[in-house]
Protein backbone atom coordinates (compact mmCIF):
# COMPACT_ATOMS: atom_id res chain seq x y z
CA UNK A 1 0.00 0.00 0.00
CA UNK A 2 2.81 2.41 0.77
CA UNK A 3 4.48 2.58 -2.56
CA UNK A 4 4.20 6.13 -3.85
CA UNK A 5 4.60 5.00 -7.49
CA UNK A 6 7.26 7.64 -8.12
CA UNK A 7 5.05 10.50 -6.90
CA UNK A 8 7.18 11.12 -3.81
CA UNK A 9 9.09 14.09 -5.29
CA UNK A 10 5.86 15.64 -6.54
CA UNK A 11 4.29 15.44 -3.06
CA UNK A 12 7.50 16.90 -1.65
CA UNK A 13 7.26 19.88 -4.02
CA UNK A 14 3.69 20.34 -2.84
CA UNK A 15 4.85 20.29 0.77
CA UNK A 16 7.36 23.04 0.02
CA UNK A 17 4.61 25.11 -1.58
CA UNK A 18 2.36 24.53 1.45
CA UNK A 19 5.15 25.85 3.67
CA UNK A 20 5.70 28.85 1.38
CA UNK A 21 2.02 29.73 1.41
CA UNK A 22 1.93 29.30 5.20
CA UNK A 23 4.94 31.52 5.86
CA UNK A 24 3.88 34.21 3.39
CA UNK A 25 0.37 34.28 4.90
CA UNK A 26 1.84 34.39 8.38
CA UNK A 27 3.87 37.45 7.44
CA UNK A 28 0.78 39.30 6.17
CA UNK A 29 -1.25 38.14 9.17
CA UNK A 30 1.35 39.48 11.60
CA UNK A 31 1.50 42.87 9.91
CA UNK A 32 -2.30 43.11 9.91
CA UNK A 33 -2.43 41.76 13.46
CA UNK A 34 -0.06 44.35 14.89
CA UNK A 35 -1.81 47.18 13.03
CA UNK A 36 -5.21 45.84 14.04
CA UNK A 37 -4.22 45.55 17.69
CA UNK A 38 -2.77 49.07 17.78
CA UNK A 39 -5.92 50.34 16.05
CA UNK A 40 -8.14 48.58 18.58
CA UNK A 41 -6.23 50.17 21.45
CA UNK A 42 -5.86 53.59 19.85
CA UNK A 43 -7.60 56.72 21.05
CA UNK A 44 -9.11 57.45 17.63
CA UNK A 45 -12.68 56.21 17.49
CA UNK A 46 -12.67 55.64 13.74
CA UNK A 47 -9.64 53.34 13.98
CA UNK A 48 -11.27 51.34 16.76
CA UNK A 49 -14.45 51.02 14.71
CA UNK A 50 -12.63 49.84 11.56
CA UNK A 51 -10.65 47.19 13.43
CA UNK A 52 -13.79 46.06 15.28
CA UNK A 53 -15.65 45.63 11.97
CA UNK A 54 -12.66 43.77 10.52
CA UNK A 55 -12.45 41.17 13.29
CA UNK A 56 -16.22 40.75 13.51
CA UNK A 57 -16.66 40.16 9.79
CA UNK A 58 -13.79 37.67 9.58
CA UNK A 59 -15.17 35.63 12.46
CA UNK A 60 -18.56 35.47 10.77
CA UNK A 61 -17.53 34.23 7.32
CA UNK A 62 -16.00 30.84 6.42
CA UNK A 63 -12.44 30.86 5.05
CA UNK A 64 -13.50 29.12 1.86
CA UNK A 65 -16.19 31.68 1.02
CA UNK A 66 -13.74 34.55 1.54
CA UNK A 67 -11.15 32.81 -0.59
CA UNK A 68 -13.59 32.19 -3.44
CA UNK A 69 -14.80 35.79 -3.13
CA UNK A 70 -11.29 37.18 -3.39
CA UNK A 71 -10.23 34.74 -6.13
CA UNK A 72 -13.28 35.06 -8.41
CA UNK A 73 -14.34 38.53 -7.30
CA UNK A 74 -10.80 39.88 -7.51
CA UNK A 75 -10.58 38.55 -11.05
CA UNK A 76 -13.67 40.50 -12.11
CA UNK A 77 -12.58 43.58 -10.18
CA UNK A 78 -9.10 43.73 -11.73
CA UNK A 79 -10.46 43.20 -15.21
CA UNK A 80 -12.93 46.02 -14.73
CA UNK A 81 -10.20 48.22 -13.34
CA UNK A 82 -7.70 47.32 -16.09
CA UNK A 83 -9.44 49.03 -19.05
CA UNK A 84 -10.04 52.14 -16.95
CA UNK A 85 -6.29 52.44 -16.51
CA UNK A 86 -5.72 51.82 -20.20
CA UNK A 87 -4.72 48.17 -19.93
CA UNK A 88 -6.74 46.02 -22.30
CA UNK A 89 -5.41 42.46 -21.96
CA UNK A 90 -7.23 39.96 -19.79
CA UNK A 91 -5.55 39.68 -16.42
CA UNK A 92 -5.43 36.36 -14.59
CA UNK A 93 -5.27 36.45 -10.82
CA UNK A 94 -2.40 34.39 -9.57
CA UNK A 95 -3.84 31.76 -7.19
CA UNK A 96 -0.76 32.08 -5.00
CA UNK A 97 -1.47 35.76 -4.42
CA UNK A 98 -5.21 35.17 -3.95
CA UNK A 99 -4.56 32.34 -1.49
CA UNK A 100 -1.87 34.09 0.51
CA UNK A 101 -3.75 37.37 0.75
CA UNK A 102 -6.97 35.65 1.82
CA UNK A 103 -5.30 33.53 4.47
CA UNK A 104 -3.22 36.50 5.63
CA UNK A 105 -6.35 38.63 5.82
CA UNK A 106 -8.26 36.00 7.82
CA UNK A 107 -5.51 35.29 10.30
CA UNK A 108 -4.73 38.98 10.61
CA UNK A 109 -8.04 39.20 12.46
CA UNK A 110 -7.14 36.37 14.84
CA UNK A 111 -3.67 37.85 15.35
CA UNK A 112 -5.30 41.19 16.14
CA UNK A 113 -7.09 39.63 19.10
CA UNK A 114 -3.96 37.79 20.25
CA UNK A 115 -1.75 40.86 20.03
CA UNK A 116 -4.35 43.10 21.63
CA UNK A 117 -4.46 40.82 24.66
CA UNK A 118 -0.67 40.66 24.80
CA UNK A 119 -0.26 44.44 24.66
CA UNK A 120 -2.81 44.84 27.45
CA UNK A 121 -0.84 42.35 29.55
CA UNK A 122 2.21 44.62 29.68
CA UNK A 123 1.99 46.50 32.95
CA UNK A 124 0.94 50.10 32.62
CA UNK A 125 3.46 51.42 35.12
CA UNK A 126 6.30 50.44 32.81
CA UNK A 127 4.79 52.37 29.91
CA UNK A 128 4.34 55.39 32.16
CA UNK A 129 7.92 55.03 33.31
CA UNK A 130 9.05 55.00 29.69
CA UNK A 131 7.10 58.17 28.97
CA UNK A 132 8.54 59.73 32.13
CA UNK A 133 12.02 59.08 30.77
CA UNK A 134 11.06 61.17 27.77
CA UNK A 135 10.73 58.32 25.26
CA UNK A 136 8.50 58.93 22.27
CA UNK A 137 5.45 56.68 22.02
CA UNK A 138 7.11 54.75 19.20
CA UNK A 139 10.17 54.17 21.33
CA UNK A 140 8.02 53.04 24.25
CA UNK A 141 6.40 50.53 21.94
CA UNK A 142 9.67 49.28 20.50
CA UNK A 143 11.67 49.11 23.71
CA UNK A 144 9.11 48.25 26.37
CA UNK A 145 5.86 46.93 24.93
CA UNK A 146 7.19 44.80 22.08
CA UNK A 147 9.80 42.73 23.96
CA UNK A 148 7.36 41.97 26.77
CA UNK A 149 4.25 41.31 24.74
CA UNK A 150 6.03 38.53 22.85
CA UNK A 151 5.82 36.29 25.89
CA UNK A 152 2.10 36.88 26.31
CA UNK A 153 1.42 36.60 22.58
CA UNK A 154 3.29 33.34 21.99
CA UNK A 155 0.64 30.82 23.11
CA UNK A 156 -2.10 32.48 21.05
CA UNK A 157 0.28 33.04 18.18
CA UNK A 158 1.20 29.35 18.20
CA UNK A 159 -2.44 28.31 18.06
CA UNK A 160 -3.11 30.67 15.18
CA UNK A 161 -0.11 29.32 13.30
CA UNK A 162 -1.25 25.71 13.71
CA UNK A 163 -4.73 26.57 12.43
CA UNK A 164 -3.23 28.64 9.61
CA UNK A 165 -1.12 25.75 8.34
CA UNK A 166 -4.20 23.57 8.13
CA UNK A 167 -6.18 26.33 6.42
CA UNK A 168 -3.63 26.42 3.59
CA UNK A 169 -5.16 23.15 2.38
CA UNK A 170 -7.92 25.36 0.91
CA UNK A 171 -5.58 26.82 -1.71
CA UNK A 172 -5.78 23.48 -3.50
CA UNK A 173 -9.40 24.36 -4.31
CA UNK A 174 -8.44 27.49 -6.24
CA UNK A 175 -5.91 25.52 -8.24
CA UNK A 176 -2.65 26.05 -6.41
CA UNK A 177 -0.33 23.03 -6.51
CA UNK A 178 0.05 22.54 -2.78
CA UNK A 179 0.46 19.06 -1.32
CA UNK A 180 -3.27 18.37 -1.17
CA UNK A 181 -3.68 19.04 -4.89
CA UNK A 182 -0.50 17.13 -5.74
CA UNK A 183 -1.91 14.21 -3.78
CA UNK A 184 -5.16 14.53 -5.70
CA UNK A 185 -3.32 14.42 -9.02
CA UNK A 186 -1.26 11.43 -7.92
CA UNK A 187 -4.39 9.71 -6.62
CA UNK A 188 -6.14 10.21 -9.93
CA UNK A 189 -3.28 8.67 -11.86
CA UNK A 190 -2.64 5.70 -9.59
CA UNK A 191 -6.16 5.03 -8.20
CA UNK A 192 -4.69 5.07 -4.70
CA UNK A 193 -6.40 8.11 -3.10
CA UNK A 194 -6.26 6.81 0.46
CA UNK A 195 -2.51 6.26 0.33
CA UNK A 196 -1.76 9.73 -1.01
CA UNK A 197 -4.14 11.64 1.24
CA UNK A 198 -2.78 9.71 4.21
CA UNK A 199 0.76 10.73 3.25
CA UNK A 200 -0.41 14.35 3.12
CA UNK A 201 -2.13 13.99 6.50
CA UNK A 202 1.10 12.65 7.98
CA UNK A 203 3.00 15.56 6.46
CA UNK A 204 0.64 17.98 8.20
CA UNK A 205 1.14 16.11 11.47
CA UNK A 206 4.91 16.40 11.05
CA UNK A 207 4.68 20.13 10.39
CA UNK A 208 2.40 20.76 13.38
CA UNK A 209 4.45 18.54 15.70
CA UNK A 210 7.68 20.30 14.72
CA UNK A 211 5.96 23.69 15.13
CA UNK A 212 4.76 22.81 18.61
CA UNK A 213 8.32 21.82 19.57
CA UNK A 214 9.80 25.08 18.26
CA UNK A 215 7.07 27.15 19.91
CA UNK A 216 7.79 25.46 23.25
CA UNK A 217 11.45 26.42 22.93
CA UNK A 218 10.54 30.00 22.06
CA UNK A 219 8.15 30.21 25.00
CA UNK A 220 10.86 29.01 27.31
CA UNK A 221 13.31 31.52 25.89
CA UNK A 222 10.94 34.48 26.23
CA UNK A 223 9.97 33.47 29.75
CA UNK A 224 13.54 33.80 31.00
CA UNK A 225 13.45 36.29 33.83
CA UNK A 226 9.86 35.51 34.78
CA UNK A 227 9.41 33.83 38.11
CA UNK A 228 7.79 30.41 37.90
CA UNK A 229 5.29 29.49 40.53
Amino acid sequence: MFSLHGYGPSIFEGTILTLEVSLASLFIAMLLGISGALAKLSRARSLRLVSQIYTTIIRGIPDLVLMLLIFFGGQVFINQLGPMLGYDDYIDINPFIAGVSTIGFIFGAYMTETFRGAILAVSKGQLEAGTAYGMSSFMVFRRITLPQMVRHALPGFGNNWLVLVKTTALVSIIGLDDMVRKAGLAAGATRKPFTFYLVVAINYLLITTLSIYILKQLERRYSVGVREF
Binding site: G60, P62, K166, T168, F194, A201, L205
Partner: protein
Protein backbone atom coordinates in the same frame (compact mmCIF):
# COMPACT_ATOMS: atom_id res chain seq x y z
CA UNK B 1 -24.04 44.48 -8.23
CA UNK B 2 -27.14 42.89 -9.66
CA UNK B 3 -29.34 41.75 -6.82
CA UNK B 4 -32.07 40.41 -9.11
CA UNK B 5 -29.88 37.35 -9.75
CA UNK B 6 -29.95 36.57 -6.06
CA UNK B 7 -33.66 37.21 -5.63
CA UNK B 8 -34.55 34.99 -8.58
CA UNK B 9 -32.29 32.21 -7.35
CA UNK B 10 -33.14 32.45 -3.68
CA UNK B 11 -34.55 28.87 -3.67
CA UNK B 12 -31.05 27.50 -4.40
CA UNK B 13 -29.69 29.39 -1.40
CA UNK B 14 -32.54 28.15 0.76
CA UNK B 15 -31.76 24.55 -0.26
CA UNK B 16 -28.15 25.32 0.63
CA UNK B 17 -29.16 26.78 3.97
CA UNK B 18 -31.19 23.67 4.76
CA UNK B 19 -28.27 21.38 3.87
CA UNK B 20 -25.79 23.44 5.88
CA UNK B 21 -28.05 23.39 8.93
CA UNK B 22 -28.66 19.64 8.65
CA UNK B 23 -24.96 18.83 8.15
CA UNK B 24 -23.79 21.04 11.01
CA UNK B 25 -26.44 20.10 13.54
CA UNK B 26 -26.24 16.34 12.96
CA UNK B 27 -22.44 16.25 13.03
CA UNK B 28 -22.34 18.45 16.14
CA UNK B 29 -24.92 16.29 17.93
CA UNK B 30 -23.22 13.00 17.03
CA UNK B 31 -19.79 14.49 17.75
CA UNK B 32 -20.85 15.61 21.20
CA UNK B 33 -22.41 12.22 21.87
CA UNK B 34 -19.09 10.57 21.00
CA UNK B 35 -16.99 13.13 22.82
CA UNK B 36 -18.56 12.79 26.27
CA UNK B 37 -17.59 9.13 26.86
CA UNK B 38 -14.24 9.68 25.12
CA UNK B 39 -13.42 12.64 27.35
CA UNK B 40 -14.36 10.68 30.48
CA UNK B 41 -12.22 7.72 29.40
CA UNK B 42 -9.40 10.07 28.42
CA UNK B 43 -9.39 11.38 32.01
CA UNK B 44 -10.21 8.32 34.06
CA UNK B 45 -9.51 5.33 31.80
CA UNK B 46 -6.48 3.09 32.04
CA UNK B 47 -3.43 4.18 30.00
CA UNK B 48 -4.26 1.44 27.51
CA UNK B 49 -7.66 3.01 26.87
CA UNK B 50 -6.25 6.53 26.83
CA UNK B 51 -3.69 5.83 24.13
CA UNK B 52 -6.06 5.23 21.19
CA UNK B 53 -8.17 8.22 22.23
CA UNK B 54 -5.07 10.40 22.30
CA UNK B 55 -4.08 9.14 18.85
CA UNK B 56 -7.59 9.84 17.53
CA UNK B 57 -7.58 13.41 18.89
CA UNK B 58 -4.02 14.03 17.72
CA UNK B 59 -4.79 12.91 14.17
CA UNK B 60 -8.04 14.81 13.75
CA UNK B 61 -6.79 18.02 15.35
CA UNK B 62 -3.49 17.93 13.49
CA UNK B 63 -4.74 17.50 9.93
CA UNK B 64 -6.98 19.74 7.79
CA UNK B 65 -10.68 18.92 7.64
CA UNK B 66 -10.43 19.02 3.85
CA UNK B 67 -7.90 16.18 3.86
CA UNK B 68 -10.02 14.19 6.31
CA UNK B 69 -13.02 14.59 4.04
CA UNK B 70 -10.99 13.53 0.98
CA UNK B 71 -9.70 10.49 2.87
CA UNK B 72 -13.28 9.37 3.43
CA UNK B 73 -14.88 10.44 0.15
CA UNK B 74 -12.11 9.52 -2.30
CA UNK B 75 -9.90 7.36 -0.11
CA UNK B 76 -12.29 4.68 1.12
CA UNK B 77 -12.98 3.60 -2.46
CA UNK B 78 -9.44 2.24 -2.59
CA UNK B 79 -10.37 -0.75 -0.44
CA UNK B 80 -12.07 -3.50 -2.37
CA UNK B 81 -13.15 -5.20 0.84
CA UNK B 82 -15.10 -2.09 1.82
CA UNK B 83 -16.47 -1.62 -1.65
CA UNK B 84 -17.96 -5.09 -1.64
CA UNK B 85 -19.47 -4.78 1.82
CA UNK B 86 -22.81 -3.29 2.81
CA UNK B 87 -21.05 -0.20 4.17
CA UNK B 88 -20.34 0.92 0.64
CA UNK B 89 -23.90 2.13 0.14
CA UNK B 90 -23.10 4.52 3.01
CA UNK B 91 -19.69 5.72 1.83
CA UNK B 92 -20.83 6.07 -1.77
CA UNK B 93 -22.90 9.12 -0.84
CA UNK B 94 -21.01 12.44 -0.76
CA UNK B 95 -23.44 13.74 1.84
CA UNK B 96 -22.84 10.88 4.26
CA UNK B 97 -19.07 11.03 3.70
CA UNK B 98 -19.05 14.69 4.65
CA UNK B 99 -21.22 13.93 7.66
CA UNK B 100 -18.87 11.11 8.72
CA UNK B 101 -15.74 13.26 8.42
CA UNK B 102 -17.33 16.28 10.15
CA UNK B 103 -18.61 14.12 13.01
CA UNK B 104 -15.22 12.58 13.74
CA UNK B 105 -13.53 15.98 13.42
CA UNK B 106 -15.82 17.77 15.85
CA UNK B 107 -15.75 14.73 18.17
CA UNK B 108 -11.96 15.08 18.42
CA UNK B 109 -12.05 18.81 19.15
CA UNK B 110 -14.92 18.42 21.62
CA UNK B 111 -13.13 15.57 23.40
CA UNK B 112 -10.17 17.87 23.95
CA UNK B 113 -12.40 20.72 25.19
CA UNK B 114 -14.26 18.42 27.60
CA UNK B 115 -11.06 16.74 28.73
CA UNK B 116 -9.72 20.10 29.88
CA UNK B 117 -13.01 21.03 31.51
CA UNK B 118 -13.23 17.72 33.39
CA UNK B 119 -9.63 18.01 34.49
CA UNK B 120 -10.31 21.44 35.94
CA UNK B 121 -13.05 20.16 38.30
CA UNK B 122 -12.30 21.61 41.75
CA UNK B 123 -10.98 18.96 44.13
CA UNK B 124 -13.48 20.07 46.75
CA UNK B 125 -16.43 19.06 44.60
CA UNK B 126 -15.04 15.58 44.03
CA UNK B 127 -14.17 15.12 47.71
CA UNK B 128 -17.64 16.27 48.71
CA UNK B 129 -19.21 13.78 46.31
CA UNK B 130 -17.04 10.98 47.72
CA UNK B 131 -17.86 12.02 51.27
CA UNK B 132 -21.55 11.88 50.40
CA UNK B 133 -20.99 8.25 49.42
CA UNK B 134 -21.60 8.61 45.71
CA UNK B 135 -20.48 5.82 43.42
CA UNK B 136 -18.05 6.72 40.67
CA UNK B 137 -20.80 6.66 38.03
CA UNK B 138 -23.13 8.84 40.09
CA UNK B 139 -20.32 11.28 40.77
CA UNK B 140 -19.52 11.64 37.05
CA UNK B 141 -23.19 12.08 36.18
CA UNK B 142 -24.20 14.46 38.94
CA UNK B 143 -21.08 16.41 39.85
CA UNK B 144 -18.30 16.20 37.28
CA UNK B 145 -20.22 16.44 34.00
CA UNK B 146 -22.60 19.29 34.89
CA UNK B 147 -19.77 21.41 36.21
CA UNK B 148 -17.52 20.46 33.26
CA UNK B 149 -20.22 21.39 30.73
CA UNK B 150 -20.44 24.84 32.28
CA UNK B 151 -16.72 25.39 32.05
CA UNK B 152 -16.63 24.02 28.49
CA UNK B 153 -19.41 26.22 27.12
CA UNK B 154 -17.32 29.21 25.93
CA UNK B 155 -14.81 26.97 24.13
CA UNK B 156 -17.60 24.80 22.76
CA UNK B 157 -19.41 27.78 21.28
CA UNK B 158 -16.22 28.48 19.32
CA UNK B 159 -16.26 24.88 18.13
CA UNK B 160 -19.86 25.27 16.92
CA UNK B 161 -18.83 28.28 14.83
CA UNK B 162 -15.73 26.50 13.50
CA UNK B 163 -17.93 23.59 12.47
CA UNK B 164 -20.35 25.94 10.72
CA UNK B 165 -17.47 27.50 8.81
CA UNK B 166 -15.85 24.13 8.18
CA UNK B 167 -19.08 22.79 6.71
CA UNK B 168 -18.51 25.08 3.70
CA UNK B 169 -15.94 22.49 2.60
CA UNK B 170 -18.81 20.13 1.79
CA UNK B 171 -19.32 22.19 -1.37
CA UNK B 172 -16.00 20.84 -2.65
CA UNK B 173 -17.42 17.31 -2.88
CA UNK B 174 -20.52 18.36 -4.86
CA UNK B 175 -22.86 19.02 -1.93
CA UNK B 176 -25.15 22.02 -2.34
CA UNK B 177 -24.75 23.78 0.98
CA UNK B 178 -24.73 27.60 1.22
CA UNK B 179 -21.26 27.77 -0.36
CA UNK B 180 -22.30 25.18 -2.93
CA UNK B 181 -25.29 27.36 -3.86
CA UNK B 182 -22.97 30.35 -4.26
CA UNK B 183 -20.66 28.34 -6.50
CA UNK B 184 -23.57 27.30 -8.70
CA UNK B 185 -24.74 30.91 -9.04
CA UNK B 186 -21.21 32.10 -9.76
CA UNK B 187 -20.70 29.45 -12.42
CA UNK B 188 -24.07 30.14 -14.02
CA UNK B 189 -24.04 33.94 -14.11
CA UNK B 190 -20.34 34.72 -13.60
CA UNK B 191 -21.24 37.08 -10.80
CA UNK B 192 -18.81 36.35 -7.97
CA UNK B 193 -19.67 39.39 -5.81
CA UNK B 194 -23.38 38.72 -5.69
CA UNK B 195 -22.94 34.96 -5.28
CA UNK B 196 -20.33 34.88 -2.53
CA UNK B 197 -21.37 38.01 -0.66
CA UNK B 198 -24.87 36.54 -0.31
CA UNK B 199 -23.33 33.34 1.07
CA UNK B 200 -21.25 35.46 3.46
CA UNK B 201 -24.38 37.23 4.70
CA UNK B 202 -26.08 33.88 5.32
CA UNK B 203 -23.10 32.59 7.31
CA UNK B 204 -22.82 35.80 9.31
CA UNK B 205 -26.48 35.69 10.19
CA UNK B 206 -26.17 32.08 11.42
CA UNK B 207 -22.97 32.90 13.33
CA UNK B 208 -24.56 35.80 15.17
CA UNK B 209 -27.65 33.75 15.89
CA UNK B 210 -25.45 31.04 17.45
CA UNK B 211 -23.55 33.63 19.50
CA UNK B 212 -26.89 35.01 20.68
CA UNK B 213 -28.17 31.56 21.70
CA UNK B 214 -24.96 30.73 23.56
CA UNK B 215 -25.16 34.04 25.45
CA UNK B 216 -28.70 33.11 26.52
CA UNK B 217 -27.54 29.68 27.60
CA UNK B 218 -24.64 31.22 29.52
CA UNK B 219 -27.00 33.46 31.46
CA UNK B 220 -29.02 30.39 32.38
CA UNK B 221 -26.13 28.09 33.25
CA UNK B 222 -24.17 30.73 35.12
CA UNK B 223 -27.18 32.14 36.94
CA UNK B 224 -25.63 31.14 40.27
CA UNK B 225 -22.58 33.28 39.52
CA UNK B 226 -24.53 36.45 38.72
CA UNK B 227 -24.01 39.31 41.17
CA UNK B 228 -26.77 39.48 43.73
CA UNK B 229 -27.77 43.02 42.86
CA UNK B 230 -28.68 42.20 39.28
CA UNK B 231 -30.70 39.22 40.52
CA UNK B 232 -32.65 41.48 42.83
CA UNK B 233 -33.30 43.81 39.93
CA UNK B 234 -34.77 40.97 37.89
CA UNK B 235 -36.96 39.79 40.73
CA UNK B 236 -38.21 43.25 41.59
CA UNK B 237 -41.75 43.90 40.41
CA UNK B 238 -41.97 46.40 37.55
Amino acid sequence: MDLSIIIENLPIYLTGLKNTIILVSISLALGLLLAVPLAILRNYGSPLVQLPIRAFVYFFRGTPLLVQMFLVYYGFGQFDLLKESLLWSFFREAYLCALFAFTLNTAAYTTEILRGAIKATPHGEIEAAMAAGMSRYLMVRRIILPSAFRRALPAYSNEIIFMLHGSSLASVITIVDITGAARIINARFYSPYEAFLTAAVFYMAITFFIVFLVKKLEVRWFAHLQPQSSKAAIEAPP
